[in-house]
């Protein structure tokens, strides 16, 4: 056991984490004889009982297809599904539910934009992304560039893992059609200066997509205040079900953009002479949607708002400070990603122990972390490493989780030296 000295300056956590942890049945189990220290929420968070119950209740009592039946169950299912859309709207402060498109997740949302917006892209047009992006905010744009002859421009980062704003500004020009950048990096935890990124793009009238997969679960996000054109996120990283996500777009964009997929629900009338598309947001929701997923996501939104996003952010930030000092203080540890503004992600390497081996040893100690490239190979390439070990936080993490991580790291050091 390693004792970690208390930091006096640490803000006292307002959250009653012990009580919150009881909402998560999965956290109560033992892994390899140890309490579970779940430090992999950036890959996917866990779900509280209320989300599990909402999905279950829906299937037990209310399920039918939405938007098309006159019977009671169809009415209930539609109310619940559309109710979830309103919850999401409030959660990110969109102007209208017409701007909230349910998708399968962040990846699907970005592909929607690439396919739809992409129809208007021509050879020589430029799409600006950053070196920090998750593969899902790289590959759809590469595919679009291949299809159209457009050019992908990549904003470089510095060795703390921060976007180089000077380079960003110089990349914006008359050929730039879109800026697509992560709000928070999943590999390093860097919080990007999205306000400045958007403001600079505005000056050139360039629309901005933010990949908010790692932001929405951890801080208050207000798309109206941000004034971004598009915003994408996933349900499963914010205590909601898998297979549900959100594509937010300003209404004027959704009016202009052509539909993504064709099928039922996205039309008003179909004849062989032609088809009229449905109203927003349904124009972008072809086929029977993930109704249960949306309802579960609505329950997750209620749950998070009940705790308070500012409280969540403050708590995670305190735990991150604690973890950064404790892990960073171990001999032979290199922290990867040391941005000034960071969310709850700690990426690191330990001398002489490959991340993959570290992952196995920590798992033995009940500690779940992710190892590898975190779907951000260009970031790893930038730092000249094959991968990192990554501990990532959610509000249900406590100091005990970090202490257990530290014990596991010492176990690895003992075994390998």
């Amino acid at each position: 056991m390693t004792a970690i000295p208390d930091q006096k300056k640490m803000t006292p956590t307002a959250l009653d984490v012990d009580r919150l942890r009881q909402d998560f049945p999965i956290l109560a189990q033992k892994i390899n004889g140890h309490r579970l220290a779940f430090l992999d929420s950036a890959a996917s968070s866990q779900r509280p009982q209320c989300v599990i119950d909402a999905v279950r209740h829906y299937y037990e009592r209310d399920h039918a297809n939405v938007h098309r039946g006159v019977h009671t169950l169809s009415h209930r299912a539609t109310e619940a599904y559309e109710g979830a859309r309103e919850k999401v709207r409030q959660f990110i402060n969109a102007a209208s539910t017409r701007e909230i498109v349910f998708t399968r997740g962040t990846t699907d949302s970005i592909n929607l934009l690439a396919a739809s917006f992409g129809q208007d892209i021509e050879a020589g047009d430029e799409i600006v992304i950053s070196h920090l992006e998750h593969h899902s905010n790289i590959v759809p744009w590469q595919m679009l560039c291949e299809r159209t002859g457009a050019v992908l421009r990549v904003v470089p980062i510095n060795d703390r893992g921060e976007i180089r704003m000077d380079e960003y500004l110089s990349l914006l020009g008359p050929r730039t059609r879109l800026v697509a950048i992560s709000h928070v990096s999943n590999a390093l935890g860097t919080i990007n200066p999205v306000e400045q990124i958007i403001a600079a793009a505005r000056e050139h009238s360039i629309p901005v997509l933010l990949d908010g997969a790692q932001a929405v679960p951890h801080q208050r996000v207000d798309v109206t205040a941000l004034d971004c054109d598009f915003y994408a996120f996933s349900g499963h990283k914010m205590c909601g079900p898998t297979g549900i996500g959100v594509f937010y777009a300003k209404e004027e964009w959704l009016e202009r953009l052509p539909p993504y997929q064709g099928g039922g629900d996205m039309i008003l009338t179909v004849s062989f002479a032609g088809t009229t598309y449905n109203d927003l947001p349904y124009k972008f929701e072809a086929g029977t949607p993930n109704i249960a997923g949306a309802i579960g996501l609505g329950a997750a939104v209620d749950y998070l708002l009940d705790i308070g996003m500012d409280e969540i952010q403050a708590h995670e930030s305190a735990i991150l400070d604690y973890a950064t000092n404790a892990v960073g203080g171990i001999d032979g540890i290199q922290l990867v990603g040391t941005a000034e503004h960071k969310a709850g992600v700690l990426s690191f390497n330990l001398d002489g122990v490959h991340p993959h081996d570290l992952g196995t040893i920590l798992d033995h100690h009940g500690v779940a972390i992710r190892t590898g490239h975190h779907c951000a190979m260009p970031v790893m390439e930038f730092f000249g490493i094959a991968g990192t070990a990554r501990a990532s936080l959610a509000f249900y993490n406590c100091r005990e989780d970090i202490d257990q991580l530290i014990e596991g790291l010492h176990l690895a050091i003992r075994m390998f030296n």
Partner: protein, 152 residues
């Protein structure tokens, strides 16, 4: 503790020793065959160099980076197979891949130097680390001068 025992079985001294100081860890120049083995899930990447003299492996060496299991496995493999006849080598490859692959839960003892890596069979997610070098060699013997990955 029992769990720690499992770990100690996985990371035996022999394994740690091979991973820290891999044998035949160098480039062969010229080499009859050069092939890259890649495990994209964890970033392990090794280049295998092979010189063949009639129907024998005359020299076998590798370079690259990877976890302790994949490095030890490659190191042990090069020691086991240098100067061996190609038909024996083929047999060894099949036998090693066969003992590691089925479900990783098999208790049948592993013959030869690869026995040191037997602990891997209790860790299904690590089997690919143990077999990467062997699969790469198998592809090299089939004269594929490409990249082999664990993900297909």
């Amino acid at each position: 503790m029992a769990e720690t025992q499992d770990l100690v079985t996985l990371y035996r001294q022999t394994v740690l020793d091979h991973s820290r100081q891999p044998r035949n860890f160098r480039r062969l120049d010229p080499a009859d065959r050069t092939i890259v083995g890649h495990n994209p899930l964890c970033g392990d990447k090794m280049t295998l160099y092979l010189n063949i003299d009639q129907d024998r492996i005359e020299d076998l060496a590798f370079e690259g980076t990877g976890c302790a299991i994949s490095m030890a496995s490659a190191s042990i493999m090069t020691e086991m197979l240098r100067h061996r006849a190609l038909d024996e080598v083929q047999h060894e490859i099949e036998s090693v891949i066969g003992t590691f692959e089925p479900h990783g839960q098999d208790d049948t003892p592993i013959a030869g130097a690869m026995a040191a890596l037997g602990g891997v069979r209790a860790y299904p997610s690590r089997i690919k680390c143990a077999t990467l070098a062997w699969k790469t060699l198998a592809a090299a013997l089939q004269n594929q001068n490409t990249t082999v990955t664990t993900e297909d």
